[in-house]
C-alpha cells in the first residue's frame, strides 16, 4: 500500500516537473502521443528499488545532518516543562502612570531614587541615567549638583597626559558599583546584577513584575530544593534567584515622612525605574494626545471635503430623451 502510494506520489511529482518543460514544447509542436516516453520512466519511478534507495538517501541525509549539527532545523526541542519555569504571573497593579493621560508620581520617583541609591545601587548600575536627568524630575539642580559632587570621577588626560580624579558634574552618568562585569560576578557568587536603566522595559510584565519580585520573597514550598546562596521567589522564572530579599520595613527614612514599608519602597523604586526606562514618557503621551486629536479632526474634515468635492459629480442627473419618430 505504502509503496503504491509513494510511487503514485513520485509519478505526480515527476510529471509536475516534466510538465513545465513539456508545456514550452507543446506550444509549438503537437506530439502524436506522449505516452511512449513516460511509460519507461514510470516503471523506473514505481520500482521498489527506486523507492528503497530514495528512502535510504533521505534517512542518510537526516542522519548525516544530525551528526554534523546536533539537531534538525525548524524542529524545536520538546521538553517537559513546569509552570514554575515561567514564574508566577504578576498581578496588575494600578500604577500612577497607567492611564492614557497619566504621568509618573514625581514625589514617588524622588523616594524611589533614594531607595535605589541606598539599597539597589550597592549591586546594580544605572548606566544610562546621568545626574542631569534628575534635574526637574525628582530633584532641584542644586541638590543634584551636590549629590554628583559626592562622587569622584576619573577625567583627563590633563596637560601632563595623566588621568585625574575630580568631583562629579551634572553631565556625568550614575556611578557603577563595579568596574566591570567580572568584578560584579565575583562579588555576587557568579551572578551578574543587571543594569537597571531599562529593566522595566526589559522584563516581561514590566513594573508589575519588578514590584512582585521585590515583594514576593517567600520560603520555598515543600519539595522545592534551593541551592546554597540562592533564594526562592515564585515570580522569578525557575524560582531560584541569586538576589536575596533586600527591602524590609523601615530600611530607609524618607525625607517627606512617608512610612517606609516594604511595599511602599518597592512601589517607589519601581516608579523610579519606570521613569528611568522611559524619561521621555510625558512627551510621548502628550504627543500621542495631540496626534490623535489632530488626525481624527483631519479625518473628519477630509471626509467633509471629499463629500463636498464629489457632491457635484455624484448628484449629477443625466436625462435621456428618446428620439421621436418624425414620420408618425
Amino acid at each position: 500500500m505504502i509503496s503504491r502510494l509513494s510511487a503514485g506520489a513520485f509519478r505526480k511529482a515527476a510529471f509536475g516537473a516534466a510538465r513545465s518543460n513539456a508545456a514550452q514544447r507543446a506550444s509549438s509542436v503537437r506530439f502524436a502521443s506522449s505516452r511512449a516516453s513516460t511509460s519507461a520512466f514510470e516503471s523506473v519511478m514505481s520500482s521498489p528499488a527506486t523507492l528503497a534507495s530514495a528512502s535510504l538517501f533521505a534517512v542518510g541525509t537526516v542522519a548525516w545532518y544530525t551528526h554534523l549539527y546536533g539537531n534538525l532545523p525548524f524542529i524545536s526541542e520538546a521538553h517537559a516543562s513546569h509552570l514554575s519555569d515561567e514564574g508566577l504571573h504578576p498581578a496588575a497593579y494600578p500604577w500612577p502612570h497607567n492611564g492614557l493621560f497619566d504621568t509618573f508620581d514625581h514625589a514617588s520617583i524622588r523616594r524611589g531614587y533614594q531607595v535605589y541609591r541606598e539599597v539597589c545601587a550597592a549591586c546594580h548600575s544605572l548606566d544610562r541615567i546621568a545626574w542631569r536627568n534628575l534635574v526637574g524630575v525628582s530633584h532641584t539642580a542644586d541638590e543634584t549638583r551636590a549629590m554628583a559632587e559626592e562622587v569622584e570621577y576619573t577625567d583627563g588626560p590633563n596637560s601632563e597626559g595623566e588621568m585625574f580624579q575630580r568631583p562629579g558634574k551634572l553631565a556625568d552618568y550614575m556611578p557603577a558599583p563595579y568596574p566591570n562585569e567580572e568584578a560584579a560576578r565575583s562579588s555576587n557568587g557568579g551572578a551578574l546584577p543587571p543594569d537597571l536603566s531599562l529593566i522595566v522595559k526589559a522584563r516581561h510584565g514590566g513594573a508589575d513584575y519588578i514590584f512582585s519580585l521585590l515583594t514576593g520573597y517567600i520560603d520555598p514550598p515543600a519539595g522545592v530544593e534551593i541551592r546554597e546562596g540562592m533564594n526562592y521567589n515564585p515570580y522569578f522564572p525557575g524560582g531560584a534567584i541569586s538576589m536575596a530579599r533586600v527591602l524590609f520595613d523601615g530600611l530607609v527614612e524618607y525625607d517627606d515622612g512617608t512610612p517606609a514599608t516594604t511595599a511602599q519602597m518597592a512601589k517607589d523604586v519601581v516608579q523610579f525605574l519606570s521613569w528611568a526606562a522611559e524619561p521621555e514618557h510625558d512627551e510621548r503621551k502628550k504627543t500621542g494626545i495631540k496626534a490623535v486629536i489632530i488626525f481624527s479632526t483631519l479625518f473628519a474634515l477630509s471626509v467633509y471635503v471629499k463629500r463636498f468635492k464629489w457632491g457635484v459629480i455624484k448628484n449629477r442627473k443625466i436625462v435621456y430623451n428618446p428620439p421621436v419618430d418624425k414620420t408618425h
Binding site: 546621568a130 542631569r132 558634574k169 551634572l170 553631565a171 489632530i294 488626525f295 479632526t297 483631519l298 474634515l301 477630509s302 467633509y304 471635503v305 463636498f308 457632491g311 448628484n315 442627473k317 436625462v319 435621456y320 430623451n321 428618446p322 428620439p323 414620420t327 408618425h328
Partner: protein, 258 residues
Amino acid sequence: MASFQVVKKAVSLGPTVRALPSGIPHAPLLNLAVRAPHDAHAHGHGVQPRSDVAPRWAGGASQVGSGLVSKTFSTIPPTINHQQRLMHTSVSLKNANETPDFSAYRHSNTDSNRALSYFMVGSMGVISASAAKSSISEFLQTMAASADVLALAKVEVELASIPEGKNVIIKWRGKPVFIRHRTQDEINEARTTDWKGLRDPESDDARVKKPEWLVMLGVCTHLGCVPIAGRIRKGPAPLNLEVPQYEFSEGDEKLVIG
C-alpha cells in the same frame, strides 16, 4: 515558385472574410442590415425598408425583345442602408427641453453654505499645515545637539583660585579659553585706550561683564594680541579675540562658560 502558388491555392481554404479595396470587410453571406421581423400591428407604418418583407422590386414584369417576362426573385440582395447611424440617437436633441430637478440637493441658504464649505476647506488647510510644520520642526530637532552634548558644553570655573594679574587657560568645546583676573592698572589701560582707532573697534565695556574678569576664546594666538583687553592692535589678525557666552553664578564665585 509558380507551382507552389498553385498548390497553395488548391490546398488552402479561402478566407471567410474578404476586405474591399476600401478596407471594409466584405462578407457577402452575412446580412448585417437585417431588420426585425415584420410586425403585424405596424400597418405599414414602422421603419420602412425591411429585409423580411419582399420589397416591391423583388419581382415584376419587364418587356424584353421576345415579349413580356415576369420575374420573381427568390433571394433579394441586402438592402444597403444609406442613412448614417450615429452612436447617439439624441444628437439632434442637444437642447433637451427637460432640465433635471436639482432642488432637492440645493441648500436653502447658499451664502452660509458657501461660507461653511470654505471654512471646512480652510480648517483642513490650517490643521494640515500645523501638522506638517511640527513634523518638520521635530525632524530638524533631531539634527540639533543632543542633551548629553549640551550638558558637556558647559564648563564651570572656580574664580577664587585665580589670583589677580594671572591667567588660566581651560578647555571648552576643544578650544582654549583665557580667563584673566585683571589688575586695576590693566583695567585702566584697557579703558583709556582710544579704541575707536583700533582695527576692530570695540569698547572694553562691551567685551567684559565685570571689569576684573576677561574671558575670551584663545583661538587666534597671534602675538599681536595682548590679553589686556584682547583687542587687535597690530599684526595680521582682522578681529579681536572672540568672547564666548559666559555668566557668573553663586555670587561671583563661579564662572559658567557656555
